[in-house]
Amino acid sequence: MAKVGIVLLVGVILVATFAPFLATQPPQEQNLEDSNIPPAGLTYSSEEIAFVDGERQTVTNTVQGSLDHPLGTNQLGQDIYSRTLYGARTSLAVGVLGTVIALLSGVTVGLIAGFYGGRVDDGLMRFADIMLAFPALVLAIALIGLLGPRTLEIPDPFVAAGLADGMPETFTLPLTVTLVVALVNWVWFARIARGEALTVREKNYVKASRSLGASNRRLMLKHVLPNSLTPIIVLATIQVAVIILLESSLSFLGFSGTNLSWGFDINQGRDLLATSWWISTVPGLAIVLAVIGINLVGDWLRDALDPDIGGERGGM
């Protein structure tokens, strides 16, 4: 199973990286005349209303999918295949970056709490409790609603190098979303790091180093951090999956800064579910596959490294 996971994960990473080469057309390029085309091989007919000289008429409209748009098009005639490829970039970028930020801040807080103990620990952990009492999604929605959807335009190196002409020149990173998902998920890292720090602190060699006058910072970096690494790596893997799910929920609810995101596309297709079901279905499958891949790799790491991370899974 681990192999399947690695294949899926590597696949998603490759797709996200080389989206400009794999896409058949720019993801934002629209063509209203080619809207709502089903995936290749499917034919879809629906009754539509047309106005002829202001008179309403019902016409039956039959559309056939073709390889021009292998996964069909949405209501703007955008190519769903290309959009899904680019959506992987957003998900992965937010997932990884959000996890890294959560990890750095969470581990720092956790180590400080665990190592200094006493009041510092009490204060920081009560704060962590408060964060846990806030449902992450609610907090994220509030923060994004409040901070506004800031974004960061990152130039696409392939397009800049002239290797993929016509594709978007920049990639839009939803900055607020990234920060917010990190902000609501750092607690899990803090709890792990604190636990490890508490255990290591009591070990004799640490006590000895301490009595020899080693500084706390040095002790933390030299003894505690290496020991905590295994569970943190496993947790980080799982967190990438959790954050991808959270990001998709947020863009589904319309709290995002980019419209190249799987959640966004799912929401776009929601009102056309009865007619053009593929608009929501395809990006949803993409999320499921990507997250399955990451979870499988996480399981594999967990089995291989066998850390004790208990219930620290985080969530939406």
Binding site: F127, F134, P135, L137, G263, S280, I287, V288, G311
Partner: protein
């Protein structure tokens, strides 16, 4: 005595958490661009109308003063008036609460009913086809965003099969029950059930999958312990070993995990409610955030926070009860 001390201690901690939550909400309020008055006042309101509306809601006072007054009123159980709805925030919240509770409980029931047997079967028949099916299901379950699952259920069940209603809570559980008791009429219950099934499945799937995974791995770990062999050696039937000993010990850590995952449940409820137009706290919170209806946002988050605190006290108590090596502290 110890029990009393435990509860006093936890109550104080709970109050601290709630206070922290309120404070953070006010901090958020402070840094939020735009005033709630933009949402109260009509889009073409004159400056005077805006001003007098603001005064009316107490929004003209400095934020620390609003904060102080809010805390003062909260202690007396008053959450203030909704900016948008002309009703006390608490009344709006408590009217919506049953819908969310029903959904959360139904989802939990779904999760527990399916997950524990699946997890047990998976662990006791490791590497058999049934285990592959169950681990496969749980992997997909924890990897599927629940809003998409909801949409797919609507697509498949609602639009294509037209089997279950995909929205609306026609009748509350209380009403259905009352109808049953007073009129011996099962229809209310049936209608309630038919409406709650899809949302409950949507919300419950992630937890089903999560508990299956936890149960399976926990049981496998537990099954490797010597006491299991000892129990078999003394002649206990396998079912007794599995359920009374192994599963029970497996559940002890799982209960803690589930307590921690309550936030996920509530987050999931928010989005499930939004997909199914379920008139609960989740949709209320989203609406209120969109309208900057702070008294309702604050109230709802306090209620959620309270739920979190209470559930976790219960979890800790249960943990200590089930695990004799742990003492309440």
């Amino acid at each position: 005595m110890r029990l009393t001390r435990f509860f006093i201690r936890r109550t104080l901690q709970g109050i601290l958490v709630i206070w922290g939550v309120v404070t953070i909400v006010f901090l958020l309020r402070f840094i939020t661009p735009g005033s709630p008055i933009d949402f109260v006042a009509p889009i073409d309101a004159s400056p005077e109308l805006r001003q007098s509306l603001a005064e009316n809601l107490g929004l003209d006072k400095p934020i620390y003063q609003q904060y102080g007054e809010y805390i003062f009123n909260l202690i007396q159980g008053d959450m203030g008036y909704s900016f948008q709805r002309g009703l006390p925030a608490s009344e709006i919240i408590f009217r919506r609460l049953p819908a969310t509770l029903e959904l959360a409980i139904a989802a939990t029931v779904v999760a527990i009913t399916f997950s524990i047997p699946l997890g047990v079967i998976s662990a006791t028949r490791r590497n058999e086809p049934v285990d592959y099916v169950s681990t496969g299901f749980s992997l997909v379950g924890i990897s599927t965003p629940n809003f998409w699952l909801g949409i797919m259920l609507i697509l498949v069940v609602g639009v294509q099969v037209e089997f279950l209603p995909t929205s609306r809570r026609i009748i509350g559980f209380g009403g259905a029950l009352e109808l049953l008791v007073t009129e011996q009429n099962f229809l209310g219950l049936r209608v309630w059930l038919s409406h709650i099934i899809l949302p409950a499945v949507t919300l419950g799937t992630y937890f089903t999958a999560l508990i299956v995974r936890l149960t399976r791995s926990g049981m496998l770990e537990e099954l490797g312990k010597s006491y299991v062999e000892a129990s078999r050696a003394k002649g206990l039937p396998e079912t007794l070993v599995t359920y009374k000993h192994v599963l029970r010990n497996t559940m002890i850590p799982i209960i803690t995990v589930l307590g921690l995952q309550l936030g996920t449940l509530i987050g999931g409820a928010v989005i499930t409610e939004s997909v199914f137009d379920w008139p609960g706290l989740g949709t209320l919170v989203i609406e209120s955030i969109r309208q900057r209806d702070w008294p309702v946002i604050q109230g709802a988050i306090i209620v959620i926070g309270l739920g979190f605190v209470v559930i976790n006290v219960i979890v800790d108590a249960l943990y200590a009860y089930l695990n004799p090596r742990v003492e309440l502290e």
